[in-house]
Amino acid sequence: MEVLHIKNYEKTGVLSISNLRLPTDDQLKKGVAIIECVQEIPCNPCVAVCPVNAISMEDINDLPKADFNKCTSCRQCVGICPGLAIFVVKVKDEKALITLPYEFLPIPKVGDIVTALDRDGNSKGDAKVVKVNQKEKTRVITIEVSKDLAMEVRNIRV
């Protein structure tokens, strides 16, 4: 039956780690873009914006693929992705820096303590805002959480 082929995220709208291609610990220390775009939609601004050609796509309908070794974690793709599906994660000692797109009010300030949310919208405790880029309407915000939440936290509540 067709129903059997439905992937879990197609039912819930929430990805699990197994749906993603993961970087190694060393790559995470350097900082990499995690692209949470798992469906072939005709879209390629991330490929066009990447200054080091770390994101590739053969055809516009392909999935974007990040070369974790090439990626310099410059964060430009975070703000450009129309699907708000790219996050930059960098692990530093016991902390993880997560850069995410944010399109709500109020806009937090550097130093603010906000609530970190996972892909389900559940609270994962406090996060410290370390960087806010307000150039575009889609703000690009970097928060600091504990290292074990690096691949879980994907949103904030201010």
């Binding site: 390629n44 066009a48 516009i60 309908n61 994907r154």
Partner: protein
């Protein structure tokens, strides 16, 4: 009910406009329509039904559904969702079939306009058609029944997908402004007629004939418009869903709500139930959150989310649940929506009894698909076919977007439900094709080739499958004279 702070749109307070609703003085703001001004005053009941006197509110917000008819300055059946509010106008609930007074028309004589290409609808398809035809050198008349250009672009606050050439990464609201600027640059060749409804469409030997009514400050003016080529780009209307209570004020089309909050800056309510998890349902839910409105949940009758995962993910990480295999069973409330009952459905979309859940909400948004607007082209004798993948009855057209009636072109959602990006390309293709058939040619074949290859790219992924099949069936019908099921 006004939105003052918004992360994407700048809603400044504008000049106040006073008007009367059922003899009570109320205030709207410059730029409001009558319906949005009433909503800002928390008036959701716009009329009562003729026989059973059931309360009626608006539904589509773009002048398509006739649910917002009211009497304005003694003129009945005014579509208040697209009629701007003006100082001291008298708006009355219309609970009976109205009588048309003589004063509606300024004079009984019609004015005549002759032009090469007439384009009906100034959405993404119509605007691109106008620009493409003007670039080729043709003179164009662009008509829209709204009081602003842009069609549904003006409420799209999210970034568009696509490639850089197709303006990916731009928001619809920015795109509408950019296209309008270009139209102004071509003011020698593009004439704009807003607040104008085309009410008749007749086939001629050399030229086709349109009858239109323009709303002017002191009354309506009738026009006879003769065009060598006509491009119909009048979009689509939102689908209704059958359930008890679906006529209560507070049950809106998701697009209607998007118009209300993103164009006029008015909140539809405080707590929303979204029905349908296609892209429209997902995007509008997210935009409701951005406007500071609570979304209780999204229900989707199909076993999987129909829209892009990335849109669903945005919503989920804000904490909004999406219930697949669930649908609305009924809406309840006295004069307007006070709540709804949702229910789990089986693989055949049948409700499973015992799984009902009561939800307290004041707004229900229906995002259950769109139907192409084809009334005008049907009138002129264009052949239509029922093609499920294209959204219902659509005009059969060739690869230049020309229908079986020579000189009548179609583009955008009215030629099959798709995205704004494909509507723009189709519009461009129709505009160039119409201009070349008049003898203009500025590298036209290259423009057409580019359009066709861009359309092919957009329709080649898994999400492009439905429109691709729809367009293949349309092509099949054009050549072979019809589909048999």
């Amino acid at each position: 009910m006004r939105i003052r702070n918004h992360p994407i749109i700048d809603f400044k307070k504008k000049r106040e406009i006073s008007f009367y609703f059922n003899k009570k003085k109320m205030y709207g703001e410059e730029g409001d329509t009558i319906a949005s001004a009433l909503h800002a005053n928390d008036v959701k009941v716009l009329s009562h039904s003729l026989r059973y006197k059931r309360p009626r509110g608006f539904f589509c917000g773009i002048g398509k559904c006739s649910s917002c008819f009211m009497t304005v300055n003694d003129i009945p059946n005014v579509r208040t969702c697209i009629t701007p509010v003006k100082e001291n106008i008298k708006v009355m609930e219309q609970d009976k079939g109205g009588e048309l007074p003589n004063k509606q028309f300024i004079n009984k004589d019609k004015k005549r306009i002759d032009v090469e290409i007439v384009i009906i609808g100034s959405g993404p398809a119509g605007l691109m058609a106008a620009l493409a035809a003007a670039e080729q050198g043709a003179s164009v008349l662009l008509i829209d029944e709204n009081h602003m250009v842009g069609g549904q672009l003006v409420k799209q606050t999210h970034r568009f997908f696509g490639s850089r050439e197709e303006k990916a990464g731009m928001r619809g609201i920015e795109l509408a402004v950019e296209l309008m600027k270009k139209v102004v640059e071509y003011k020698e060749s593009i004439q704009l007629m807003l607040a104008t409804t085309v009410i008749g469409c007749y086939k001629g030997k050399k030229r086709h004939n349109l009858i239109a009514v323009q709303k002017l400050a002191d009354g309506d003016q009738l026009f006879e418009i003769n065009g060598h080529k006509i491009i119909v780009a009048c979009g689509a209307l939102e689908n209704m869903l059958a359930f008890p209570g679906n006529d209560l004020p507070g049950v809106y089309g998701a697009g209607g709500v998007q118009t209300l909050m993103n164009v006029y800056g008015v909140k539809p309510g405080k707590c929303v139930l979204m029905v349908g998890a296609g892209n429209v349902g997902l995007i509008v839910s997210y935009q409701l959150l951005q406007a500071g409105i609570m979304v209780d949940r999204v229900v989707e009758a199909m076993p999987k989310i129909g829209g892009y995962h990335v849109h669903a993910a945005k919503l989920r990480r804000c904490g909004v649940p999406i219930y697949t295999s669930h649908s609305i069973k009924e809406a309840y409330g006295k004069e307007k929506v006070e709540g709804a009952v949702v229910v789990k459905v089986d693989d055949y979309c049948q409700p499973i009894s015992g799984t009902e859940e009561n939800i307290s909400c004041d707004t229900i948004c229906l995002a259950v698909g769109l139907t192409p607007s084809i009334r005008l082209i049907e009138q002129i004798g264009v052949r239509t076919e029922f093609i499920l993948e294209a959204g219902g009855h659509v005009a059969v057209h060739d690869s230049s977007m020309q229908t079986n009636v020579r000189g009548i072109y179609i583009a955008g959602d009215s030629s099959g439900i798709e995205e704004a990006s494909t509507a723009m390309i189709e519009g461009q293709l129709a505009g160039v094709s119409a201009a070349t058939s008049l003898g203009y040619d500025k590298n036209a074949s290259e423009v057409k080739r580019k359009c066709r290859s861009a359309l092919k790219v957009f329709r080649s992924g898994p999400f492009g499958e439905i429109p691709r099949v729809g367009k293949e069936k349309i092509a099949c019908c054009y050549r072979n004279g019809g589909l048999t099921y």
